[in-house]
Each structure stands twice: as C-alpha cells, then as structure tokens.
Amino acid sequence: MNENLMQILKNIEWVYLIVKFLFFTIFGWILIGLLLFFIVFVNSRNEKGYFSLGKFVANGIEKSFFLFSNIFQLIVGIILVLALISFIPVINEAKETISLYKDVKMLGAALKNLKTERKILEATVDFTEDKDEIVVNLKYFAYSPVRNTDIMTGEAEYRIPGSRVYLDSIVINFEYSLVETGKAMNLSLPYKIFSDKVSFNDGISINSMDNDIPLSLKLDRDDIFLLEKEEYNSTIKKLVSTLNDKKKALKMGVRTFYSEAIALYPAKNKKYTIYSTGSGGLVLR
C-alpha cells in the first residue's frame, strides 16, 4: 500500500517538475518562445517554398492575437499550476511521514525483540527433611513460534548437598542486528547444577536431551514453522556442535557464548523462573 502511494507521488513530482521548468523559469519561457518562433517560421513560406517576411509578420500577429484571445484559459491554467505547486510541500511531507512511519514500525519491532524474555527454566528449591540435601525440581521450557509462547518440554528432580544451588546454563547471544530484525533469538541450554559445597566439576548434569535435542529447544511438529521436524532437529544439532568452534559460531552470527549460573536459595512454596533475554544473558524473576 505504502509502496504504491510512493510511486504515485513520484509520478506527480515528475509532472510538477516539467510544468515548473516551462512556466516558472526564464529558460522555460525561452524554450516556449523558441518553439513559437519555430512554428511561425515554418508556416511562413510562400507557394514557391521561400521564406516570406510578410507571411512571417502576419502569422506572428495571428498567433499573438490567438494568445491574447485565450488569455483567460492561460490564467486559469497558471492558477491550476499554482494549485498543483501548493501540493508539492504536501507531497514532500507525505513522503517523509511515510518513510518515518516505516522507521518507527521497524524500530518498534527491534525494541520488542530486544526486550523479549524467553522462559528457560522454572525451579522450586527446598531442603530435604533432614536438611542434608537440597531438592531441586526443574521444568524445562522451549519457545514455540507457532503458539508464540514458551511451552513446557520436560521435568526432572535433582538432589545436591549444600545450602544454595547454582543452575548453570550455556548462553548463546547473537549479533544485536540479527536479534533486532527477528532473524535470530538468543538461546540458553541448561547444563549443570552445583552448590556452595559442591564444585562445578562435581556437579550434576541437567542437560536433559530428547533424541539428542536439548529440552530447551525441543519442539513437536505442530510447533515448528516452515521447517520439517527432521530439518529443525538437524539445524539444532549443527548449532550445538559449533559451540566448540569459535570461527564457525562467529560465522553463524554468534556475538558471545559462555556459561552463566544463577544462584537459588531453598524456600518453601517459592517458584524461581529463569529467562533468556533479547539483549543478552539471563535474568531471574
């Protein structure tokens, strides 16, 4: 719709430029005068084909009389042109407004994408009855573009000694330009839990997979856009395999990739939710 309007405005501008040149510039009037002179000159030949001054003068007087007798139409024409000229600033304003509207729409979408927070994990954390260990119940989530929401893809329970637990995830942040345009979405893959007493190396893997696909990226056929499920799964496997290759990751538009753990304290009836953010990194809510 906007493209069509822009094209119409472009065509009107061409007409305006021609009229403006002919009637509102000295060179335009010189051109009209030359044309008039040429027409009178061509029609000023006698029967033998020679130029006749008498005929030239008579023709010139005739054309001038014609011009004066049609002066009303000429004035109306000039007023119409003036009216048309008054539309030129309108056309320019319209063009600028349309272009700005496009920019604002694009920036609004970019801001929305950067502000997006995708749910990765929901966790409840509590002590066992003898307070020896922490019980962590995790719910995994993946983003479904079809439903435009985060859907639960699995659940698991883990136990670890300590007084606070750390949920560690691999974080993959894409170039801002890719996130802004919606071509990529920052990812986070839950990897391990450790605690204040248990080091990362001695921690427990929470990298739950289903058919080699991390639960944070697992989608059913109905939740996948455009791609077939097999195609989607092979893309995910390829992405996960590039994490050890910095060059390949950069080529795919990855800006930063690292691990981030979020500390959670045992609390009855408290639900922690970890989100992956559009601008980069994780937040806890």
């Binding site: 009216a83 309108v90 407004t97 920036l107 690292y258 753990a261 500390a263 601008s279 990194g281 806890l284």
Partner: protein
Amino acid sequence: MKNWFIFILFLVVTGFLLYFLFFYSKIELMNKKKVLLEEIDKLKKEYVFMKFNVLNQTEDTILDFVLYDINGTEVTNFLLTNKGIDVFVESRVIVLKKSNAIVLPLKIYSEVIPPEKGTFIGNYYFVSGEVLLYKSTGRELSDFVNNLYSNESNIKNEYIETSFNGVLHTLNGIKAGKSYECFVHINGGLELREVDYE
C-alpha cells in the same frame, strides 16, 4: 467561472489541511523515533565492570583483575591465584525499576573450587563505607548502592525489580595470554567475552 474558483479554492484548502496533518504527524513520528532509538541504545549498552588477564597457567592460574566504575574508569586492580582451568566470577545483580542494573562482583572461584571456598573480592572496591564502582554516579545512586552493599534486605522492594547472584565462566576454560571482559546490560543480563590481550 464560479465553479473554477470553488474548485481551485477546494484544492488549496485541501492542500493546506493535508500539509498540516502530515507536518504534525511527522513531528510526532520523529519524537517517537528518537525515544525508540534511545531505548534500543540503552538495551544494547554494555557496562564492562570487570576485566581479567590470564598471566600464567601452569598448575595454578595467575590472573590480573581490573575493576571499572560505571563510566569505564579503572577503579582498582589486583592479582589472584586460582586453581583449575576456568574462572568463575560471581556477582550480585540488582535490577532497579528505573531501568538500570547494579552489579557488584563478589567472589572468584573455579570449576574445582566450590563457591563457599571462593575468594571474596568485595573489599577491593568497598572502601571506607563506599562502593567505588558507583562513586561517580551522583549522590543519590551512590548512597543507594552504599546502603545496598551494606544491607540489601533493608532496601525497600519498591525500588528493586529483581535481584540475583549470577556466575560467569567460559565454556571450555580460559587461555594464558588472553583477556576476558564481564559486562552487564540494564535489564540485568550478564555477559562474558574473550578480548585481545592489550
């Protein structure tokens, strides 16, 4: 003659009305664009609060840490020896409702050292009751952070959107001769990146 006059008058009046309509829409859109650009810039802003250089990596890893204030000015630097092949940087992140995040690095440990045995680094930037990382931000925020550091639980929830401890570390371990930057976004997202050694 009269019809021509009315037609031309109609064209001119329509032209003026459209002109003002587009003119004011344009001003409105320009303001909106400015606000959107500012918000996007804010979200993309990366506040580097810590950088560490891996000086040596034999049995123990020797690390040179530099802490920066919110303006990117170096506040302090210190050397630490760590065991293992990775460095874990634990920080307190406090996201304020005013679209701002405060980050306070707390501990350094590794993949073989559990958090409770990590090295506390708060004393490198909390000097004489002041958090040096936020000293240059103006009285209001600086006082707020000083109170926050001393006793977070006393700070009213009405100012805080969320707060948590986030731990940054690499995927495959750090490398001698490399530098790493830790930074935070205004929404509290933490990031770590490898940079060229300077």
